[in-house]
Symmetry: C2
């Protein structure tokens, strides 16, 4: 999957991913009003509204980008109707030939991690029929439980040609509470990075591994170190834009050849219509505002090369 | 919620929780066959089979126990139909007046963690209507992202009278890869335990906090240390039975008064009918085998006091 992701990044000349994290407060009012007219003030209305929002945005930007990253929490909060919207979004993105990175941050042990892996990037068997629960291509994984938690995902990656991004150094202010603490003279996130490198050796796909890493844009000096520690890992970089990361901070995450990293923007794209800069589009043309924000983000990122 | 849990533990004289982790391979063959007859070899059949399995077991054991712990991965692997089975299971357990601990191990940052918290133990608002996505009373939480990831859950606990168990030291063999590494002379899991104690101070519910901890039964010497480090945290103890933990190892997790911990068994209860010890029940009476296994587990645990 990682070689396919790289191919798409090169075709689109866009090492970027659009985060589909639809909070209800992000939506133009008319979308939720319409859904409430149809379904009442229900979870179904919330699911329908975020699905319509996603569909419009993906429809407007899919030709510009290689991948999307739906954040499952934003759907899961609405229970089953929310997860139906997640499923529709994933499947629609795949119809549009986008690579789908499920931001699920799952992690458990043994057969439980295997269940998450099978459900999101692998398959399950019912009777003699192989089926897919959800349909992402890549998922994010939490490493706190160690190899027992991550290896079942790596097995699925290897067997089914899928990918994972393991949380190494996250973009949030308190990420240092545990991740930065020194162990034998180096921070915990470096230990995790070494494990990512080790796990990834069993699942190479060309020059890179199916096992990538998440490293926040907000810590560029750490990005430089981690880029070297994990030579085969693609790095998913959250935190650009709304979280405060700038393009200038992103160079260390990439290799010399411009590969090795993919930068996420969520709010900056899907909420562009609320930004002063794109206010001319207005609420009705929110998806066009998102398209312009993607064009601007591509330009901003590509000027660092 | 933690005071309610304690009350139920005392009423039932059972500091135990039954883990509802239904792998298809655990089910008596007739249950899946019946579901496939009705729904074909589909995700819906898998969801229906595990729901019928759970319903029979919960129906047979609910009067003996204070709580259940469904492992969401086992449902999520079957996509939306699996999560419908999860929802039915949670709601049925609540009808039976059981406390439901969703073993979801979620953890993200800021508004994303808030979305998970709202979806599983809190509520969401659609228009002017407050709704619940899923309906657990307590969930498990992964701490790798630090306070930004955990505090949104603590806020919901405090506001809505719900609870969390934060992963501190997990029961799996490789849990030491990161959790046991020494930082300033003490292992990472102790640092996490100190944070659990700190987070919990904002959400007291009687003598204990709504913020509890997960500490595996397989590491009793660590259990003793952690019991002292987190005086207000209830400890959820996985790893008893099938994972190798014995009752003798459990004493350190409890306080002198017999409170302070709740021990989980999953396979040992829900798969009892496959155990030589309970083979007289046969496949047809799998739920009665589970009931006998709960009775035996209660006796085994209670002899340590």
């Amino acid at each position: 999957m990682i070689s396919k992701l790289i191919q798409r990044i090169q075709e689109k000349n866009a090492p970027i991913v659009v985060g589909l994290d639809p909070m209800l407060s992000y939506l133009p009012a008319f979308l939720l009003e319409k859904a409430i007219d149809d379904y009442g003030e229900t979870l179904e209305a919330a699911g329908e509204a975020i699905w319509q929002y996603n569909k419009a945005i993906v429809g407007a930007v899919h030709d510009l980008i290689p991948a999307v990253k739906p954040q499952i929490a934003m759907y899961e909060q609405f229970g089953v109707p929310g997860l139906i919207a997640f499923e529709k979004t994933v499947n629609y993105c795949k119809e549009k030939d986008l690579i789908v990175i499920g931001d699920v941050k799952r992690g458990d042990i043994g057969s439980t991690s295997a269940a998450y892996a099978n459900g999101h990037i692998g398959s399950v068997t019912v009777g003699n029929t192989e089926l897919r629960g959800f349909h992402e291509d890549i998922v994010t994984v939490n490493p706190y439980l160690g190899s027992d938690g991550v290896k079942p995902f790596v097995d699925v990656c290897r067997e089914q040609g899928r990918g994972i991004f393991v949380l190494v150094k996250t973009s949030n202010p308190s990420s240092g509470e545990f991740q930065d603490r020194e162990i034998d003279g180096r921070p915990l996130y470096e230990l995790v990075a070494e494990k990512v490198d080790e796990w990834g050796k069993d699942a190479m796909d060309g020059a890179y591994s199916e096992v990538g890493a998440v490293v926040g844009a907000t810590y560029p000096e750490m990005g430089a170190v981690l880029r070297k520690k994990m030579p085969h890992a693609y790095i998913l970089v959250p935190g650009y834009g709304a979280q405060g990361g700038t393009a200038d901070q992103l160079r260390p995450y990439f290799n010399e050849d411009g590969l090795g990293a993919i930068v996420n923007s969520s709010r900056g794209i899907i909420c562009a219509y609320k930004d002063q800069k794109y206010s001319d589009f207005g609420e009705d043309r929110f998806a066009e505002a998102s398209r312009q924000a993607v064009i601007d983000m591509k330009e901003d990122i590509n000027r660092i090369f």
